[in-house]
C-alpha cells in the first residue's frame, strides 16, 4: 500500500506530531514500508481464528463499587504548569 505525503500530514495532525517539510518524504517512505508489511500479513487466511483483543488469555477482573480514593488534589496538581481555584489551566479553548 502506498502512502501519500497528504496521508502522512493528516495522521500527523491527528496525532499532534510536527513533521517538517524536509522530513516528509522520508517519513512517507517509512510509513509505506510498515503498511506494506501489514498488507503482506493481510494475505494470510485468518477466517477460522477468533480475533485477539488482548495477549493475555484471561478475562477482566472486576472491583467492588466502593470509593477508595480521598481528595489528593494538592499532590496531584503539584506538577501542573498552571492552576487556579482548583482548576487546571490550559490555553483558551473556543468552540
Amino acid at each position: 500500500m502506498s502512502v501519500t505525503p497528504q496521508d502522512v500530514e493528516k495522521v500527523a495532525l491527528l496525532a499532534r506530531l510536527a513533521i517538517s517539510e524536509s522530513d516528509l518524504p522520508e517519513v512517507t517512505e517509512r510509513f509505506s514500508r510498515v503498511l506494506n508489511l501489514v498488507d503482506e500479513l493481510n494475505t494470510i487466511d485468518t477466517e477460522s481464528v477468533t480475533p485477539m483483543s488482548n495477549p493475555h488469555d484471561m478475562e477482566q477482573r472486576l472491583r467492588p463499587d466502593i470509593v477508595t480514593r480521598d481528595d489528593n488534589r494538592k499532590a496531584l496538581m503539584a506538577s501542573a504548569p498552571a492552576q487556579e481555584q482548583g482548576y487546571f489551566l490550559v490555553p483558551k479553548v473556543i468552540d
Binding site: K10, L13, L14, R16, S53, N54, H56, M58, E59, Q60, R61, L62, R63, P64, D65, I66, V67, T68, R69, D71, N72, R73, L76, M77, A82, E84, Q85, G86, Y87, F88, L89, V90, P91, K92, V93, I94, D95
Partner: protein, 483 residues
C-alpha cells in the same frame, strides 16, 4: 416542498455508582474542582484501570430491561482524540464488541399505542472532564471530577420521524432507567445527555439525506426545540438547492438555533483500537439469569396492571406510571383506601398541584401516602364532601395530624342525617318565597340554574357540611311539591 425528518438518537446515561468506572474516586455531583480525580482519572503515566462491577451489572440490567441481546464477550476500545478535558488523549469506550447488542424498545405514545424503536447497541464508556470557559479571562479551566464517571451510551437506529416521537422515547427511557435503578436520571446534573442525528429527505423517498449531529442536549424541552430549529435550517438550505454539510452542531437555547462546532471538524477520525490495559468482559448465562431475576416490574407492565387492577384511565396511568415513586405512592393510597380512582384524582389533582407549587417531588411530600389514604377513605365513605375534603387536605399539608384527627378537631363531618337536612331545606324555602315563586314559574332548563341558589344557601347555613347530593334530592322533592 414537503420534507420528511429522519433521526437517530444517542443518549449518554450516567450510571448510578458510588465510584468511577476505572478508579476508586467518588462520582458524587457538586464537589470542588478536581478533588474527585485520582491518578487514573488524570491519566498519569503507568496507571492502570480496574473495572467497576456495578457498572457492568447496570449495563446488563439495561440490556435485559429492553430485551436486548447481551454481548457475552465485550471488549473495550480506545477512541482517540485530543481535548484538554480528556487527559489520556483517548476515551475508553466499546466500539467493536459492545456489552448490549440489538434490541427493541417500545415507546408508549400519548394515544396509548406503542411505537417500537430499534436499539442498535449500548456500550460502556468513561465520561470526560469539564471545561470551564467563563471563569478565566485568558485560559480555560479544567475540572476532572467527572472524568471516568461511568456512562452507558444508548444508540438507536434512525427510527424517529418527529420531535414528539423523540421526546416520547427520551421520557420512556428516563422512566425505564429510573425504574431499573441504574441511573438517577437527574437531567439538570447531566445524568442523561442526548445527541441527535438528523437529516431531511423528500416525502416518500427511501434514501437518507446528509445528516448533522446536535451534541449534548440535556432537557426534553431543548431536544424538541433543537429538532425544530435544525429542521428549519436544513429545509431552508435544501429548498434553495443547497447541500447539507455533515458536521457536529451545538444547540444554543438562548438564540434557539444550532451552530457549527468548528473545532470538532478535523477530529472526527477516532482510530479506534482495542484497549490493551483491559481484558475482555465475559458474561455467562448464570450471571444473566441472576440479573434477570432481579429486574423490577417495568413501566409498561405496571401500566397494564394499573389499568386492569385499579381501573384507572389510560390518561391517569400515563401520569402515574413514569415516575416510579409516584406509582408506588398511588399504589399505597389505592390499597389502603380501597378507592383507586379517587386516590388517582387526589394525587394527580390537589397533591400534584401543591407539590408543584412548592417545587417538591413526591418523595418529599409533607402528606404521606398513609395520611392521604385516610382522607380518601373519608371521602369514599361519605364523611367528607369534596369541599370539606379540601379543607382537610390543606390541614394535612400543614401537618395538623391525620384525617380523622382533623375532622374531629374541626368538627368537619358531613351532615348526611336526612331529618336534619330536611329541616334546613324547609327553612330555606320558607325564608325565600320570591325565589321559590321564580322557580315555579321557570322552565326545566332554568330551574336547574335556580336550584343552585337554594343549595348555596343551605351549604352556607351548614358551613359546608351538608351532604350536597342529599340536599339536591330533598330540595327537588320539596320544590316540586310546591309547584
Amino acid at each position: 416542498m414537503s420534507w420528511e425528518i429522519v433521526m437517530g438518537l444517542e443518549v449518554h446515561l450516567q450510571l448510578a455508582t458510588q465510584s468511577k468506572i476505572f478508579s476508586g474516586s467518588s462520582t458524587q455531583f457538586g464537589a470542588s474542582p478536581n478533588v474527585q480525580a485520582d491518578a487514573v482519572d488524570l491519566g498519569m503515566p503507568g496507571m492502570l484501570p480496574v473495572l467497576n462491577e456495578e457498572a457492568v451489572r447496570h449495563a446488563v440490567t439495561f440490556g435485559l430491561g429492553i430485551g436486548a441481546r447481551i454481548g457475552q464477550r465485550s471488549v473495550f476500545d480506545r477512541k482517540n482524540y485530543f481535548y484538554p478535558d480528556l487527559p489520556k488523549g483517548y476515551q475508553v469506550s466499546q466500539f467493536f464488541a459492545p456489552i448490549v447488542c440489538e434490541g427493541i424498545f417500545e415507546v408508549p405514545l400519548e394515544n396509548g399505542s406503542l411505537y417500537p424503536i430499534r436499539i442498535t447497541r449500548a456500550h460502556l464508556e468513561e465520561d470526560a472532564g469539564k471545561s470551564v470557559h467563563d471563569e478565566f479571562a485568558h485560559e480555560t479551566g479544567i475540572d476532572l471530577n467527572r472524568a471516568g464517571t461511568p456512562l452507558l451510551e444508548i444508540v438507536t437506529e434512525p427510527d424517529f420521524r418527529s420531535a414528539e416521537q423523540a421526546v416520547a422515547y427520551l421520557k420512556a427511557l428516563h422512566s425505564l432507567v429510573t425504574y431499573l435503578g441504574i441511573s438517577d436520571g437527574n437531567m439538570a446534573e447531566g445524568s442523561m445527555r442526548c445527541d441527535i442525528n438528523i437529516s431531511l429527505r423528500k416525502q416518500g423517498s427511501d434514501e437518507l439525506g446528509t445528516r448533522t449531529e446536535i451534541k449534548n442536549v440535556n432537557s426534553f424541552r431543548f431536544v424538541e426545540r433543537a429538532i425544530h430549529s435544525e429542521y428549519e435550517r436544513q429545509a431552508e438550505i435544501l429548498e434553495r438547492g443547497g447541500a447539507i454539510t455533515q458536521e457536529t452542531r451545538l444547540y444554543d437555547a438562548d438564540q434557539d438555533t444550532t451552530r457549527s462546532m468548528r473545532s470538532k471538524e478535523v477530529a472526527n477520525d477516532y482510530r479506534y483500537f482495542p484497549e490493551p490495559d483491559l481484558l475482555p468482559i465475559l458474561i455467562d448465562e448464570a450471571y444473566i439469569d441472576a440479573v434477570r431475576q432481579s429486574l423490577p416490574e417495568l413501566p409498561t407492565a405496571k401500566r397494564e396492571r394499573f389499568l386492569a387492577e385499579y381501573g384507572v384511565s389510560e390518561y391517569d396511568a400515563s401520569l402515574l406510571v413514569p415516575n416510579h415513586d409516584m406509582a408506588d405512592y398511588f399504589e399505597s393510597v389505592a390499597r389502603a383506601s380501597g378507592a383507586a380512582k379517587l386516590a388517582a384524582n387526589w394525587i394527580l389533582g390537589d397533591l400534584s398541584a401543591a407539590l408543584n407549587r412548592h417545587e417538591l417531588s413526591i418523595t418529599e411530600s409533607p402528606i404521606s401516602a398513609e395520611r392521604l389514604s385516610g382522607l380518601v377513605s373519608r371521602v369514599e365513605d361519605g364523611t367528607l364532601s369534596s369541599k370539606l375534603a379540601k379543607q382537610v387536605f390543606d390541614a394535612l399539608w400543614q401537618g395538623e395530624g391525620d384525617a380523622d384527627q382533623i375532622i374531629a378537631a374541626r368538627g368537619l363531618k358531613q351532615v348526611s342525617d336526612s331529618s336534619a337536612l330536611e329541616a334546613m331545606v324547609t327553612e330555606v324555602i320558607a325564608n325565600n318565597p320570591d325565589q321559590v315563586a321564580q322557580y315555579i314559574a321557570a322552565d326545566e332548563a332554568k330551574r336547574k340554574k335556580l336550584s343552585g341558589f337554594f343549595v348555596g344557601q343551605i351549604m352556607k347555613a351548614s358551613q359546608g357540611q351538608a351532604n350536597p347530593q342529599m340536599i339536591n334530592q330533598l330540595l327537588l322533592e320539596k320544590l316540586e311539591s310546591q309547584s
